[in-house]
């Protein structure tokens, strides 16, 4: 009810106005008579009384006004419904990775939730309706309200946990969808955030069913292959139980085991396991062989950089920039042979040489033969030039600010950069950062990356002169540059992403996706042959398209979701009365219509009384 709303409160003040009118009317109205001699002997004891005497008309008007005010304010009734036919149930399931954990007696936590839900369906009258909802990254209605129990059971069977942590926002959205139900059964392996339950304002309609007993779990937290033949790799394993555990860890690279050992993990402790150095670059796979409750976090992939010698070209008219960029390239991979050249001296590098990576600053990329190119502060079109540019430059700004960066979102404080070029990246490029010119409002891309055929092309729209990338106050610019270089030189046939991420790979117009569990699904590419999908299962995905198959490795780890020792819930439990009464819960029923009818009846009654008085007193001003 919204009586606290200022507008509705104003409606409520109409009652005060009515009382004021009656007080005014009852303040002894003056009427004219033919002569006082007819009234001189009439005693008027009441005339001295100050007690307010309100007649039935007042109460009828007050009733009508009060009913209308409450109707406008949206008064509702919360009534306790006895179990009866035709009730609406919502079965809400946590589909996070934890629900895929295996119980001691076999079966997953989701299976246990299904069993309880089926029991609820079986105990309910045949006319009851069930809605099945799941949530992890997002809320999803698996089965809309229907009265056929078998359809609801089929929907339960179709539920599948995904290897991501269930987000509170998804739970909030699921409860919002379930809000119209008379009874909501929430199934999860850990207590939901109390704030989410309170915000949903479901009252006593929600029953929380916590499934799964506390279980031990080992998880690979991180994996770093190190530099082949140079530095050791590291694998971090965490024991997420309150008991010590034995952990058999296997690390493979290039089809060979590079580490295999049994480790003793202290309760709630992390083990940093060094291995290597690896002999060659490529994917590195670590897995825990010891069985535990949750398998999704028992394996992890990483990519070790290639050890093959590669050639990089740094082309810039500014000597300082050439020096800075060369140092950054070598920091990423010391196996690079970097050639720094001045575009004003065409003979400073071999134009016929093929480079694996070319960093081209404030000059034309024409005449550079490279597999991957990073255009920095791309050159604007020359006056009168009709030659199409690889990255169209629309205009320049004197000072730009870096406002948001992929992976970091909107920066808390914009990073002040130097001059920048406002570029219009072609559609096959994916923006990675955006910024704005000083005293401007419209943002424009400051970094983008994409594939033009076989060439990987990245662009940084801002100038990096004056040691911008080495300025500690503008570290975001350096991070953005390094991240972009990593993407440019990464092998295109191997992608490693965390679960829940969207993956875009070039695979042609039509492709097939082979999930880690072996299921195959079709993918349709866009006009540039890119297919996009979301990895929700930890393991190796295979994208088979026109060219060679590409592997996408999905890593899962979430400190909260992987911790399977969550205590039993205490905050949301059905009350004893609710348990004894079965699935009885409170329901909210708006009573606008009855209030309107009540107001109408009061007004009709008032009209009848007025008409009666008019007839009785033969007056028209009753």
């Amino acid at each position: 009810m919204g009586l606290l709303s200022p507008l509705n409160l104003l409606f409520g003040f109409s009652l005060a106005a009515l009382i004021a009118i009656y007080l005014r009317a009852k303040s002894r109205p003056t009427i004219e008579v033919s002569s006082l001699m007819l009234f001189e002997e009439i005693p008027a004891p009441v005339a001295k009384s100050r007690r307010l005497h309100l007649d039935l008309l007042f109460w009828l008007e007050a009733l009508a006004l009060g009913a209308l005010t409450l109707a406008v304010a949206g008064l509702y009734l919360r009534t306790s419904q006895a179990p009866g036919p035709g009730r609406r149930h919502a079965l809400v399931f946590d589909l996070g990775a934890g629900m895929g954990a295996v119980n001691e007696g076999g079966g997953t936590r989701l299976d246990e939730a299904r069993r309880i839900a089926k029991q609820i369906i079986g105990d309910a009258p045949a006319s009851d309706q069930f809605t099945v909802l799941g949530y992890a990254l997002e809320a999803e209605t698996t089965h809309a309200a229907g009265s056929k129990p078998q359809q609801a059971r089929d929907a339960l069977a179709a539920l599948t946990p995904v290897d991501v942590a269930a987000r509170p926002a998804a739970l909030r959205a699921a409860l919002l969808r379930a809000r119209s139900a008379d009874q909501i059964d929430l199934f999860a392996d850990r207590p939901p955030p109390a704030s989410v339950i309170e915000d949903a304002r479901l009252g006593g309609r929600i029953n929380f069913h916590q499934v799964g007993a506390p279980a031990p779990n080992l998880a690979i937290v991180a994996l770093d292959g190190g530099l082949p033949r140079a530095t050791v790799g590291r694998c971090v394993v965490r024991n997420l139980s309150n008991h010590p555990q034995l952990c058999e860890l296997v690390i493979e690279a290039g089809g060979h085991e590079v580490f295999h050992s049994s480790l003793f993990a202290e309760p709630r402790a992390e083990i940093v396991v060094p291995f290597g150095p690896l002999q060659a670059g490529g994917p590195v796979h670590a897995r825990i062989v010891t069985p535990d409750a949750l398998a999704a976090d028992n394996q992890r992939w990483a990519l070790a950089p290639s050890i093959a010698q590669a050639h990089a070209l740094v082309l810039s008219p500014d000597a300082q920039v050439r020096d800075d960029l060369a140092r950054i390239v070598l920091a990423i991979n010391r196996n690079y042979l970097v050639t720094a050249a001045d575009p004003n001296h065409p003979d400073s590098f071999n134009h016929a040489q093929h480079f694996d990576l070319a960093l081209i600053h404030d000059t034309s990329a024409a005449g550079v033969n490279a597999t991957a190119r990073l255009l920095i502060f791309p050159e604007p079109p020359l006056d009168g030039s009709t030659r199409p540019q690889m990255i169209p430059v629309k205009r320049s700004v004197a000072i730009a600010e870096l406002q948001e960066r992929e992976g970091a979102g909107s920066l808390s404080a914009p990073v002040l950069l130097g001059p920048a070029r406002v570029i219009a990246p072609p559609p096959w490029m994916q923006p990675l950062a955006r910024g704005v010119g000083v005293r401007e409002h419209d943002t424009f891309p400051l970094a983008a990356m994409g594939y033009d055929g076989d060439q990987a092309i990245g662009v940084l729209a801002f100038d990096v002169r004056d040691h911008l990338l080495l300025d500690p106050d503008r570290m975001d610019a350096l991070v953005l540059t390094v991240d972009l270089l990593h993407r440019l030189v990464a092998p295109r046939d191997i992608v490693i992403e965390p679960t829940g991420a969207f993956v875009a790979v070039t695979a042609g117009a039509k492709a097939r996706l082979v999930a880690p569990d072996g299921t195959v699904s079709p993918l349709l590419g866009d006009q540039w042959g890119q297919v996009r999908f979301r990895v929700l299962e930890a393991g190796r995905y295979l994208v088979v398209g026109n060219g060679p198959a590409m592997a996408v490795y999905a890593n899962y780890y979430d400190a909260g979701e992987s911790d399977l020792s969550a205590p039993a819930a205490e905050l949301v439990r059905p009350s004893a009365e609710a348990i004894s009464a079965g699935p009885s819960q409170l329901s909210v029923r708006p009573i606008v219509l009855p209030l309107a009818i009540l107001a109408l009846l009061a007004l009709i009654g008032e009209s009848i009384m007025l008409a009666q008085r008019a007839v009785r007193w033969r007056t028209t001003h009753v």
Binding site: V33, S34, S35, L38, F39, A44
Partner: protein, 302 residues
């Protein structure tokens, strides 16, 4: 005032047609007989013969009888004479209260009806409305009309009269007397919501100069029954402006009716004692009953 227009509706006048207003005063006088005063009208219809007496008008001596019988014989005639009827209507503010009772309309309608009846005998009829304005008295009269054809000439006066001012009945009666007309009939139509001394003085003075006085007491439905909406009110006298706090209800209504009854009994008793005809006209809704039941009390007959 809408009620006053009924006085000129054919249905209303048709009911009054054929009625006659009786008077205690002789409508005829004997011509030839010695009388004092200005009225010496000639004979029209032979009535009798009698012996001559000293002082008789020799114009009425029957010379034929003297020639045959040698006796002086006076021929007497009966001559009809016209009666002056003044219908005094109270036009004070109290006649306009309560507004829905339309007492002034009722008074004018009944007065017009009596005038119409009076004109059937070719009596001279006039209206006189009285009220008190700005401390003085105002008596507004119409010319005498005697033929029914001229009855409609009263219409502007009847329909245009508004209630207002104080009730100055005694003053109005004095003004009427000062007009020095031949004694006739005066029909006073009022609510008589004044002190007993006031109306006794007025009516007594009128009767004292020889007028035959008839009293028609007019009251409204509401004030005669005390039927006011219940509740606490402050009542204001429409003539004096005096205020009084009262509480309307069944008890008050009963007291009001008792007061009316006492006031009516006082007026009626006074009229009876002074040989005046008294009739009541309580409630405009009872117009037909008043005509049929109360008009005979005023001497209206078929």
């Amino acid at each position: 005032m809408a009620l006053a227009t009924r006085a000129f509706e054919p249905e209303f006048l048709q009911k009054l047609d054929g009625l006659m207003l009786s008077t205690r005063r002789a409508r005829t006088r004997r011509a030839g007989q010695r009388i004092i005063g200005r009225h010496q009208g000639g004979g029209i219809e032979p009535e009798n013969f009698r012996e001559y007496a000293h002082g008789d008008d020799l114009r009425y001596l029957d010379w034929n009888a003297f020639a045959r019988l040698d006796d002086l014989t006076i021929r007497t005639f009966r001559a009809e004479r016209q009666l002056e009827i003044t219908i005094m209507v109270d036009a004070s503010a109290s006649m306009g209260m309560p507004a829905d009772d339309d007492k002034i309309g009722l008074a004018l309608t009944l007065g017009a009806g009596l005038a119409f009846i009076g004109m059937s005998e070719n009596d001279q009829v006039r209206f006189a409305a009285f009220s008190g304005r700005r401390g003085g008295s105002r008596l507004e009269t119409t010319p005498f009309r005697s033929r029914r054809e001229t009855y409609v000439d009263f219409r502007p006066f009847i329909t245009g009269l508004k209630a207002g001012g104080e009730t100055r009945l005694a003053t109005a009666a004095s003004e009427l007397i000062q007009d020095r007309r031949v004694p006739g009939m005066v029909i006073v139509i009022s609510d008589f919501l004044v002190g007993a001394g006031d109306y006794e003085e007025a009516l007594g003075n009128l009767a004292g100069v020889g007028h035959e006085v008839k009293v028609l007491h007019v009251l409204g439905d509401r004030e005669s029954t005390g039927n006011y909406p219940p509740g606490n009110y402050r009542v204001r006298d429409c003539e004096t402006g005096e205020l009084r706090d009262v509480s309307f209800g069944p008890t008050a209504a009963e007291a009001c009716r008792r007061r009316i009854a006492e006031h009516t009994a006082g007026l009626s008793g006074f009229c009876t004692r002074r040989g005046m005809m008294y009739a009541q006209a309580f409630g405009a809704s009872h117009l037909n009953e008043i005509v049929t039941r109360e008009f005979p009390r005023l001497g209206v007959m078929n």
